[in-house]
Structures are given as C-alpha cells and as structure tokens.
C-alpha cells in the first residue's frame, strides 16, 4: 500500500436491514448515535483496532508459545494474514460503493516520480523532439533542393522568353484548366499597325504557342511545311537560275544542327534561343509572303493594271505582262522547289521567249585572234525581281501604316500612292523595262566588245523605268601630240587642243531608246550627202534592231570628226562627210577615208576603206551601192586602231601636200 487514499463516506441515512422475520416485520439495527456511527464506519476502515487486536492475540500467542522455536515463515504468514484482513476491508468498501453508497474522490496527488523516471521521461520527450527537428530539417533541405532545381528550370525558360520578347510580341492567357507545364504564353506575329484593308486574311500562323521541351526549356513547335516562301520566275527560264535561287533561300534558314549537341548547358541555351528566333523569323516572313501573294492575286484580277492572268493553281499564279513575257508567282514550302507545278504550266505557254544560252564563247577584249560569238540574250535574274516585288509591297503595306512618305526625295521609285491598285502595274512596267533594257545592253555589249577603243559605262538612274549608258571613246594622249610637240607651246596646246574625248549616250525610257551625241557645233547632219556645217539633231530615237548600226555610225562619225580636227591642226583643210573624210589632190582627185560599219562583223565593227575618185565621180557619191570600180579605186584598210588611223591620216596628208601621186 503505497498510496494514501482518502475516502470520505457520505452520510446517507440508508438503513440496513438487519433481519426480516417471517411475518414481514423488518428489524433494523438500532440507530446508533452519530458519533458511534462514525466510529463504526471509521473502524471499518481503520485497521488500528484490528492491529491492536492482532497484536494482543499475537502477544498472547507469543507468551503462550515462547518456549517453542520460531518458525521461519511465521512472520510471512502473519503478514499475509494481515494483508488478507486489509483486503477484506477493502472488499467491503468496494461492496459498499457498489451498493450505491456514493463515494467521492476528494483529491489525488501524483506520486512523486522517482528521479530516474523523471529523467527517462525527459529523455524520451527530448528524443522525440529531436527526431521531429531532424525530420523538419530534412524536409527543409529537400525543399531547398527541389526549389533550386525548379528555379533553375524556370530561369532558363524565362530567360529565353525574355530574350525572345525583345524582338517579338508575347501574349499570355491565364487559363485555369491548362496543363501544369503550360503557362499559356504565345507569340503574336500579326502586325496590326497597318491598314486592315490590305490584309484581311489573318494567317493561322500568326499565333505561335510556347511550349516546353523535355528539359523544361522554351520550345516552339511549328508544323512542318507550313511556312511558305515566295518564288518568282520567268517561264522558260533556265533551271539553273531557279536552283541557284532556292539554294540561297535554303541557306537563310538552314538550322545550325551541327552546333552543340555536345555543347555545354549555356551553349545549348543560346542555341535554343537562336533556333526559336530563326523559326519565328521564318513564320513572320511566311506571313508576309502570303500577304504579298494575296495582294498580287487581288490586283491581277483588276483589269486596269495591264497585267492579265493566264494560269492559276493552288498557291500559283501565272501572269502575262505583255510583249510575250510570262511570269509566275508561287508560294512554295520553305526548302522545296515547286518544280512540278511550274513544269505543267510551261506547256500552256508558247515559246515566245528567246531560249537562253550560256556565256561560254564570249571572251573579253582579247586579241585579234579571239573568236567572239554574239552573246545571246537571257533573262535578267528573277531573284532580283522577287525581292523588288516584296519591297514595293512592303512599302505599300507597312509604309502607310507608319505614316512615312513612300517616295522620299533621294529615291524616286515612282510608286503610285493612291490605293495600291497600281502596284502590280508599276511592277510589270518596271519589269518590262528591265527586260527591254537588258536586251539593249546586250546589243551595246556586242558592239563594244568588238571595237577596242570604245568603252561602255553604265549610268545609274535610280529610276526603275529608266536606264542609261554612255559609250565613250577617248583618244590616247600619245596620239594627239604625236606630231605637234615640237611646234607649239603648252598654252597654245591647250587652246587649240583637239577634242579627244567623245561620248554617245543611250537612254532607255520604258521601251523607247534615245541616242544622244555630244553636240559639236559644226556637226554633220544625218544621212545628208553634202558636207555642210549645220546644227544637227543630236538626239534621236531608234528601235532595238537599228541600235547597233546607229551607235556604230555615231562612233565612226566621231572618229571622222576627230581626224578632221587633227587635219585642221596640221593645216590641211579636208572635206568632211558623215562617214567620210576626203582630201583634194591636185588633179581634182579626191582621196577619201571612208568608214564602214557592220554590227555583224566578227572581227570588228568599224572598218576603213581608202577610196580614190577622180573628179568625174562626184555625182556618183549619192549612190548607195558603189559596185563598179571604174572611176574609182578602193582599198580596204581593215579594222584600224586609233593610232593606226592617225598614222594613216598623216600619210594621206603627206600625200596631199606632196601633191598628187598614188
């Protein structure tokens, strides 16, 4: 019994039945006095009296049994008996409680813990707390790591997104129902800063979704072959031109697949961003190309532009620009050639276009023995027109939106500003002009190739429908002063300097050729038989077929002019005709140096004849074909260079002044 239990019993006046007689009479025990009651109750619990009794008994027993030897278990027996008695009291107590004697517990004190118990309790609680701390600490560190990884992933993603955002518009849709990896970003490639009438068709390509790739990095998925590039070409053009173009197109957007798959993390970030950027550029350009194609389609069916449609397929438009020129415009998926469609289309067109030829066989001014074929005309490079088409539409589409004027002062492109309906017309006119001027250029080159002392200079006009060239002939200084160095002083030289630089200008406006010569005041009229000093027309138009002849005639007459001036310098008066310089000999005979021009001549275009006539042949000069050589003597001098001409002139002059002879 280590616990002190204090029990107080309620003083309920419950009477216990003592005895019941047969006649039902109940006998209660006599009421005890209150104190006696208490005493009896206490006695029931207090074992002191029992102990006293026992002790008395024990003493009695002891005194009665002093003589006997004590049994070694005697004390234990006595203890057990005592315990038994105590237990019986407790059982009585329990029975009393069970019999509804209310028992209330007044209080209970905790047993004072033993020291080691307290410590062990403390230790257990401490250990539990430490365990919790450890658990929390591990949780913190795990979260830190996971968070770090998440931060790194997102840093890559948002870093890439911000870099791309510097160039492209980013929109965001915050959807609640999207996948956890998708934040709803899109790139908006639609340009809304220009007139909407020009671009009704908002492409499905305009919105590009931003996805994550496997590593969480920004990735863009564009369906393959959805980007189209514009292709422009002439029907009947050589295929190698088109191949060259498509190679150029491919090189634009060839992905750098050879770059770092084995690179570092940072390197592949750059590569990712760059790839995405390139993709976005492709898509953006594809949208523009589609818009251009749309606009061209719309304008082509407007009959006022002078351009007519001769064929339509899907993403393919074939136009006739007049004068037998057929062009096509198509949208091809980037990286592919739209060859089949073009092949089918060429059957529709007759061969109105000159077959193009390669450039072999044409050599530059080489020597006398070079064989110079006439270069056949080929189409101008269609890539340049593709670019030009894009450019003018770009200016139209975007220029008006931003508000800057289309034709700035420095560059007059001649684009009509009105409402864009003239763009295609302007383009076709420019194209026709370019084709024509390339033909003109071919003719001029043919001529200049074969006249060694003639130079061809291109004058830039900065106008898409005008072209201009200058054919320049410069007499070398050495020839000029050959005979005159000893005679005149320098100042006199300058004053009496013979004109040594001659030019002929060819200007093409749309398809009109205009030839202009540096106007000498005393120039010879065209096709006039007499040598008269009149003001001539220095400018005249001609057509393409006559151009070489006219050019050569101009050049030859310039040479004649020069020789005439040289003769004057020496003091000899000669007679000058358009292509002929004649000296009078004593007996009325004339010795003439005649130029002959022939554009088809392989060895040279300008050749010279020496013609000697007697006085009776004056009236025959008017005859164009001088076939009979009865009254005159002709010697073919060949294609002379300028210094040889000069030497010839001096010889002739020498002959004249020496007087007669052959």
């Amino acid at each position: 019994m280590e616990e002190n239990i204090q029990v107080s019993l309620d003083k309920l006046p419950i009477k216990r039945l003592d005895v019941i007689e047969e006649n039902g009479l109940e006998r209660f025990p006599s009421d005890l006095d209150y104190d006696e009651k208490r005493l009896s109750l206490i006695r029931r619990v207090d074992f002191a009296w029992a102990l006293e009794k026992d002790e008395q008994k024990k003493k009695q027993k002891k005194t009665s049994k002093e003589a006997s030897t004590p049994w070694q278990w005697q004390s234990m027996v006595e203890n057990l008996q005592l315990a038994h008695q105590e237990l019986s009291v407790i059982i009585d107590l329990i029975n009393t409680v069970e019999a509804n004697d209310a028992v209330t517990v007044a209080g209970m004190t905790r047993p004072k813990p033993l020291p080691n118990e307290a410590l062990s309790d403390l230790a257990v609680s401490a250990a539990t707390k430490l365990q919790c701390y450890r658990h929390v600490g591990k949780y913190f560190k795990q979260s830190a790591k996971a968070f770090e990884q998440q931060v790194a992933r997102e840093a890559r993603f948002y870093g890439a997104l911000i870099r791309l955002q510097q160039n492209w518009k980013v929109k965001r849709q915050r959807l609640a129902s999207i996948a956890p990896g998708n934040e709803g970003f899109t790139f908006d490639l639609f340009d809304n800063s220009y007139d909407s009438e020009a671009t009704n068709r908002s492409s499905a390509l305009s919105t590009v979704h931003v996805d994550h790739d496997a590593a969480g990095m920004l990735a863009i998925n564009v369906p393959p072959n959805s980007c189209h590039s514009l292709q422009f070409g002439f029907l009947g053009e050589q295929s190698d031109n088109i191949l060259r173009k498509s190679n150029v197109n491919k090189s634009n957007f060839s992905s750098e697949s050879d770059l770092g798959e084995s690179g570092k993390e940072s390197l592949s970030d750059e590569v990712c961003v760059k790839k995405s950027h390139i993709l976005l550029r492709e898509v953006h350009l594809a949208i523009f190309n589609e818009q251009v194609f749309d606009l061209v389609n719309r304008e082509a069916f407007n009959s006022s532009t002078g351009v007519s449609v001769t064929g339509i397929h899907e993403n393919y438009l074939q136009l006739s620009l007049g004068q037998g020129t057929f062009v096509f415009l198509s949208l091809v998926p980037s990286g592919q050639d739209n060859r089949e469609v073009e092949g089918a289309a060429t059957d529709d067109v007759g061969n109105a276009i000159l077959p193009s030829d390669t450039l072999d066989g044409v050599k530059l001014q080489d020597g006398k023995h070079s064989i110079q074929k006439k270069k056949k005309w080929q189409f101008p490079n269609s890539l340049s027109y593709e670019i030009y088409l894009q450019q003018i539409f770009h200016e139209h589409i975007f220029g008006r939106g931003i508000g800057k004027p289309i034709s700035s002062g420095t560059r007059v492109s001649g684009v009509p500003i009105k409402d864009g309906s003239g763009l295609l017309g302007h383009f076709s006119l420019s194209l026709s002009h370019r084709i024509f001027s390339s033909k003109v250029l071919a003719e001029l080159e043919n001529v200049v190739c074969r006249v060694p002392y003639l130079q061809l200079i291109t004058n830039p006009t900065w106008h898409s429908r005008t072209s201009s060239w200058t054919l320049s002939m410069k007499v070398p200084q050495s020839i000029l002063h050959m005979g005159s160095q000893s005679k005149m002083s320098n100042i006199a030289l300058e004053k009496n300097a013979v004109k040594s630089h001659f030019w002929t200008k060819v200007v093409v406006n749309d398809d009109c050729i205009n030839v202009e010569r540096e106007g000498a005041l005393k120039d010879v009229g065209l096709f006039k038989g007499k040598s008269e000093e009149i003001h001539s027309m220095n400018k005249y138009d001609c057509n393409l077929a006559d151009l070489p002849v006219i050019i050569l005639q101009q050049v030859a007459s310039q040479i004649i002019n020069w020789l005439y001036q040289e003769a004057l310098m020496v003091g000899i008066k000669a007679n000058r005709d358009f292509l002929c310089l004649s000296f009078e000999l004593d007996q009325g005979e004339t010795l003439s140096l005649v130029a002959h021009v022939d554009p088809e001549d392989i060895d040279g275009c300008i050749s010279w004849w020496l013609v000697m006539e007697d006085s009776f042949a004056e009236e025959r000069k008017l005859h164009i074909d001088i076939t009979d050589g009865a009254s005159e003597y002709r010697k073919f001098l060949g294609h002379l260079s300028l210094d040889l001409l000069y030497a010839t002139l001096m010889d002739l002059i020498g002959l004249c002044s020496a007087g007669g002879g052959q």
Binding site: Y133, G137, K141, A144, K171
Partner: protein
C-alpha cells in the same frame, strides 16, 4: 530591358537573386534544424550565425521585392511594333545576299579572265 543603376543588374537578375536567397533561407532553416537535432546538443554560435543569416536574407528579400514591385512598369507589349521594319530588314538581307552572289560571280569572271590570259 530595365537597366538599373545599382550594380548594373537587370531586374530579371535581381529577381533571380531573390529566388536564390529563398533557397538559401530554406537551407539555413534546415541547417538550424539539423543543428538542433544533433545528439550532442546544438552549438550556440552555429545556430546564432544561421539565424542571423536567415534574418538578413529575409530582410534582403523583402527589400528587393518591394523595390521590384514599386519599379515594375506596366507591360505594354503592343506599342511601337517593329514588325514592319523587321520585314524591311529581311528584305535588305535578301538584297545583300543577292548582291554578294553577283559580286562573287564577277570575281569569278575576273579570275577566269586572268587565268585565260
């Protein structure tokens, strides 16, 4: 991008630093917990240092976030759209490529001429 005068970092970098600090804070908390749970009892100076760092970092985070929120400008993505000039430069790029190819052809012609001569 906003270039700030303090330390020449962009606001993105500053926000990234905030995130790094948060990670550090978590690590410190974990470290303190580990220290407290060590069987030999926590070392006071270690815990104290950790706690000081923690408080410092929290303060830095707060300061940085407050600054960023104040200085965050409204995102106006659709002003001054440069898509038009972008197309212009793409066209210029194509022109350049074309001119280069022409020049290369000219050079080739010259080389052939010199070789023939």
């Amino acid at each position: 991008m906003n270039m700030d005068s303090q330390g020449q970092t962009t606001s993105l970098q500053r926000l990234q630093n905030v995130e790094k600090r948060i990670v550090k804070v978590l690590e410190l908390a974990g470290g303190v917990m580990d220290e407290l749970s060590s069987p030999t009892g926590p070392r006071k100076e270690v815990v104290q240092n950790h706690c000081l760092d923690f408080m410092q970092l929290i303060k830095d985070i707060q300061v940085a976030l407050r600054d960023e929120i104040k200085s965050a400008c409204e995102y106006r993505p659709f002003e001054n759209c440069d898509y038009g000039s972008r197309i212009g430069s793409e066209i210029c790029f194509k022109k350049l490529e074309f001119v280069m190819s022409q020049l290369e052809a000219m050079k080739q012609t010259m080389d052939e001429y010199h070789a023939a001569v």
